[in-house]
């Protein structure tokens, strides 16, 4: 496995809400506000970041766009390509990119940027499988939201618009190169059901065996497939709703902040993580600004080995 220790952290702000439906008529999802909230809470200094790159906020559209049944599908592709360029540039500079979302749709751009350097696995830490695709829901009755489809799209399931990419082609990542960690057994209803080809550790399993053992299993799984590097996707809805309710789809059971920090730390140490994204925190659901500091502390704990490398 490659090690990222010693690589300076580069923050990339990706203020997107393109992958979410409108929560309340007349008001867009608020995840685009998260990067600013996290930077204001001291993320740059906490991670000892060497650089902060801020991407522009992409425009959200309520209406369906031509030739696609994915909400904001065209805008989302354009944003993913721009984000991929930023991630690729960070990796080329031997930095460790930490991408601040934004909703989970930013995973596509992150993974595309990482994949330009060759084969790269995906550690999909998420309270949901995010595996909706046109084969398991009725695309005629509603527009698809990429925040619930990102793993399906990343593994090549869905419209050409978001599954075929320059240089990499399709899929962004093979099923066998993915580990899903943290979804809730009780919420699997057959629509987001993962195929057996994708390895999975539910949050119940993680809580039962403990963080250290979960990290060992994930790292061992990657070693067996011959992977040497991976991208880490962290959807904050993997946290228990009691500690993180300010997300689009909070749930329980879930991790606490200490457990998530330990999981990040373990995976970065053992699973060849070259970069990560953190998604779905919605400041509009957090009127008292109660959570940015906890998120910053969690990432600082998880990335302490990298941040210390530049101290």
């Amino acid at each position: 496995m490659e090690t990222s220790v010693g690589r300076p952290i580069e923050l990339i702000a990706a203020p997107s809400n393109l992958g979410l439906r409108i929560p309340v008529r007349g008001r867009e999802p608020g995840t685009w506000r998260a990067p600013a909230a996290l930077l204001a809470a001291g993320m740059e200094s906490a991670l000892n970041a060497v650089e902060v790159v801020e991407l522009p906020r992409p425009p959200y559209t309520v209406e369906a766009q031509p030739a696609t049944r994915i909400r904001n599908g065209i805008t989302l592709r354009e944003h993913a390509l721009a984000l991929a360029d930023a991630v690729c540039a960070a990796l080329a500079a031997s930095h460790f990119p930490v991408v601040l979302g934004g909703d989970c749709s930013i995973l596509l751009g992150c993974l595309l940027g990482a994949r330009r350097g060759g084969r790269c696995g995906l550690l999909h830490v998420d309270g949901h499988t995010d595996f909706f695709h046109p084969g398991n829901y009725d695309t005629a009755t509603r527009l698809g939201s990429v925040a619930g489809m990102d793993l399906a799209l990343a593994t090549g399931r869905g419209e050409l618009l978001l599954t075929h990419w320059p240089e990499v082609g399709s899929p962004l990542v093979a099923d066998e190169d993915v580990i899903q960690i943290g979804d809730r057994e009780a919420e699997v209803d057959g629509h987001g059901q993962l195929p057996p080809s994708i390895a999975r550790l539910t949050v119940q399993e993680v809580l039962r065996i403990g963080i250290d053992r979960a990290v060992e299993q994930a790292a061992e799984s990657f070693r067996q497939t011959g992977l040497t590097q991976s991208w880490l996707h962290i959807d904050l809805d993997v946290l228990d709703r009691r500690v993180m309710p300010a997300v689009d789809s909070p749930g329980s059971p879930g991790l606490d902040f200490d457990q998530l920090g330990a999981l990040i730390s373990g995976l970065v140490r053992t699973a060849g993580v070259v970069g990560l994204d953190v998604t779905i925190y919605d400041p509009q659901r957090d009127r008292r600004h109660a959570y940015p500091a906890a998120i910053v502390d969690c990432l600082a704990a998880g990335l302490a080995a990298l941040a210390a490398g530049r101290a």
Partner: protein, 177 residues
């Protein structure tokens, strides 16, 4: 109308434009339509003409069924199709944007397209269906095209139409060379 057509691709995306631009010229087509109800296939003939347009930033084509030399009295009937396709490479999306306007059917079709392997694949999500138009076996004298539809998100595809095209000698539009 002298500003519509162009002799060659232009600009920084000329290489991408040649993905469709290589089809420049006039083609004779033989079409097989496979009805969704399982009834016997129908056969038709037509013409298909491709060329560069808009100062070399687009590739357009004119689709005709039947071909002009099979029109009774030299006149196309209202229910006989002649349609226009416009393809523009969008560098921001790294995809082709495509529209078709059918004068007989009234159809207006929007699709995205990308070169996948040796094929040019156009796709549209329409309601609960995915529709693909695929150019394949592209050579200097012939190519194939097919239309497929999937009702299960791309798990399975049903062939709707297939077409073979043969280049008409001495009737080529200007191409890149």
């Amino acid at each position: 109308m002298i500003t519509l057509l162009a002799d060659a691709p232009s600009g920084p995306h000329a290489a991408e434009l040649e993905q469709f631009g290589r089809l420049g010229g006039l083609w004779r087509t033989s079409i097989i339509v496979h009805p969704a109800d399982g009834s016997p296939p129908r056969h038709a003939r037509g013409e298909w003409e491709f060329g560069y347009a808009l100062e070399g930033r687009a590739v357009i084509d004119v689709w005709q069924v039947p071909p002009r030399d099979e029109l009774e009295g030299g006149q196309r009937q209202p229910n006989q199709e002649i349609g226009l396709c416009v393809r523009i490479w969008d560098p921001r999306l790294q995809l082709w944007r495509f529209t078709f306007h059918g004068t007989a059917s009234g159809a207006v079709v929007h699709m995205f397209a990308r070169e996948i392997g040796a094929e040019m694949v156009l796709e549209q999500a329409d309601g609960g269906r995915l529709i693909r138009w695929i150019f394949s076996d592209i050579g200097p004298a012939s190519f194939s095209w097919r239309s497929e539809v999937s009702a299960d998100g791309g798990g399975t595809w049903r062939l709707e139409q297939e077409l073979t095209a043969s280049r008409q000698k001495g009737a080529a539009w200007p191409t890149t060379q």
